[in-house]
Symmetry: D2
Subunit: 269 residues, 4 copies
């Protein structure tokens, strides 16, 4: 049309008055015909998934909706509504916090698994490829291996084995190859050996297997985690709205914080 | 446990090491067993919906995922990733903008429909109840009747009749009563008559019918719209990441803005 | 220039390659010549303030920078950096929460004072005007009178009398009229009488006097409070960065929350 | 006090009923006594600056307040208020976008300058240290050297030479050493030579000199830039509030976007 229109070009949506087409599908042909996970896939990937692919994606979306109000994102959502925000604002303040440390492990695990896959594809045995990938991660990034270990769920995060078993099942039907499930288990074996105790795969490590098996790139693993956790955010924010409260702080008011500075400062007269 | 634990009480999630229960269901019993819309319902409502209820909710979630990059939320999401934000940050900046004007019409329509329902329950004929509710809305709130009219989709928003027909179908099976569908049509009739031309029901007016039929309160209509539109937000942000760009502005750089102030100001010497 | 340029018209800034003019002033003539409060005033009001006006504004900006980590905004900022966000993201999540309840009292107080001023201008005695305005606020808005009362600082918020005395001083020099200081004291008198105990003016009530005396409209009272509190947000977020931590929750991890739901739910088999 | 209080320990603020002390200073002793830039410094650094130090900081804060509505942050702020957000929400959505690409150059320039300073301190001549630092940045980070070059302001960003001259003046009075001014000029010389044309220092490169000279660490350069730019954000959001508009998009509605996908998609029947 024009340089102005071209500035905002997209292959996602086409519109005319009275017509909305998403990835080439008139919206009224999608409503009532496709599931929400199919719609999510169609929007971010561009093609309609098979029902089996969508079902496996759905498992990941269901699994990650909430981990309770000690998570900073959920605490923020609950505090937000007592400050006057609506659910959109509560969700914004909360989802923003799903950054590298709080919401990035899935994306990072997809990347780590990808390194191992590439090394295996180049002929390195999977055990060695995994050892090297873990070493590389710890020297280049951080000592935390994304997707493994949990400060709370010991010895096992109940979501991980359930998700892995669903990947295995999908692999047995040819929906996915199962290669990332194998890679994730190799990572766990290496970590268990090194730590001399179980280092359980957590929700991020397990959903990353699903996202990688289904061909989602790392950043989308984060994006879809944000979508899933938004469900918990909305549920908690809404529960807090009903509980009421004004300017809810992190602890009961009587506890106040501990002041660690000097008792007096004489800089200004 | 203690006053500190009680400060963050919730009926949504219960946790012990190795155990996560959502609304009383161990999470591993939900994964692979319930759909994502069922999970959403369970989390925000507290009870598991019937499959038919979940399917109708799913229609509303599918319908509202995107309306293109001229929507300020989507434009913001696309600009955000060119500023260095990940998908969590893009989603936060975008969803925040789904406030009263951009994302609140569904919530408002649920409220308006509720007024009419209450008046009908008190014995007022639906036509009169609708006239009065519209008058009351325009005198107490704003001249914009939430959920009706569209500056772009004329004469019809293609999503609305499709959604209404699915509500009718659900009503014919007894999944919902259909009373809010009737109310929404009464609103449309009054508006068409007053304006002397069609004032089409839009996506917010139609999804509000679904949310109200299913018993969701107004604020959740907004919350679930935010969840649905987040799909478009993620899709657009991800597409923009792949297109690249740095500090993408709203218009091509050559256009700059129009300065409307004085050419010189002599306040300071 | 064009309809596209006109879409983003502004009287705030004019630019050409190598030239930036803010409200008509070349930026290089402002740098090193005007104070930051003068610059803030110039940007939001369009004209350069007198030094005395800027100094009074500065008092309001200095007074509101922080109220500690039990404020939900500050707690959010501190948690945010442990989730991986930079200071921009921490500030965003935090400032977002300065909504009607947490950051809107200044704006509301400016409005309340304005009602009283208008009534006095119409000939109503100030005592009666104040009584009526308070009644009207409580019947139309909420029982909380903005800018008065504090759950923590009893009997007095130390910032309020200091700020009021500076307004009095400015009034004695003719910088401001002092009419809003008088109005705020009338509000305090009415509240003290009604409650039969002191209802101290708080930071919002006092800064609102300054903003109103200086001619700032209500929404700017909120905006400038956000700017002021951002200083505390940055200080706390930066301190937390140095303290470290990952995914800091609202309470020490051992406390967990109290689960108030059913112990088991048999909806799903 | 307790483990709960200790969870939120801070040296920034101490409070008792009726008492607020910031960095050891009772707040009422600061109000009306210190400037806003002094307060900012005190809060983030812990000590009161000299008037000369505060004045130099003030120059950086004044310089960066705005760069117009083609900046994605400002465009977002303006769109936000037309979606129903207050100034807090507009500021949040906007400041969030001041991430690595849009608001991180100052922080990055402080880091780059620091590399050069360390190399010079180890005996490397400044020219060679600068060459090496630039090479290292481009191989380890990105080809963009933070703080230099501007797609719009050619041949010169008018803010940079003004700020540098103020640093020189402060150095001549002993307020700062001037070493980072020298380093920044060495960077400019190298870049000019390599590019065979002027690569002008921009606002981020110049303010980074000030922040580094004054001893601010990199992340604070970003944080204080966010604070400064928030002034423009508030000014533009407020101007847009007065202009009105609902759901303002990035371009005039008639332009729509360019659809680049397929015209039809036959995935679903």
């Amino acid at each position: 049309m024009s340089d102005v229109s071209d500035w905002w070009s997209t292959s996602i949506i086409d519109m005319e008055p009275g017509r909305i087409a998403l990835r080439g599908h008139p919206v009224q042909d999608l409503i009532g015909q496709v599931t929400f996970p199919q719609m999510i896939w169609l929007m971010v990937r561009g093609q309609m998934p098979s029902p089996e692919q969508a079902t496996l994606l759905e498992c990941a979306l269901v699994a990650a909706v909430d981990h309770g109000p000690q998570a900073p994102s959920i605490a923020t959502a609950r505090m937000a509504v007592t400050c006057g925000l609506g659910l959109n604002g509560a969700m914004a303040s909360a989802v923003n916090m799903l950054d590298d440390v709080h919401g990035g492990a899935g994306e990072q695990a997809v990347e780590l698994y990808g390194w191992i896959k590439d090394a295996v594809a180049s002929g390195t045995p999977i055990e060695k490829a995994t050892e090297q990938a873990i070493d590389h991660w710890q020297s280049e990034r951080t000592r935390f291996i994304p997707g493994f270990g949990h400060r709370f769920h010991k010895p096992e995060d109940p979501r991980a084995p359930r998700l892995l078993s669903l990947v295995d099942e999908a692999a047995s039907h040819g929906t996915v190859t199962g290669e990332f499930a194998a890679i994730s288990r190799a990572v766990q074996t290496v970590l268990n050996t090194r730590k001399d105790k179980p280092v359980p795969m957590n929700i991020d490590g397990a959903t990353a297997v699903i996202y990688a098996e289904l061909g989602f790139e790392g950043p989308l693993a984060r994006g879809l985690f944000c979508l899933s956790r938004s469900v918990g955010v909305i549920a908690h924010a809404w529960e807090q709205m009903q509980q009421g409260g004004r300017n809810k702080g992190p602890t009961p008011p009587d506890y106040r914080w501990t002041y660690t500075g000097d008792s007096e400062n004489k800089d200004v007269d």
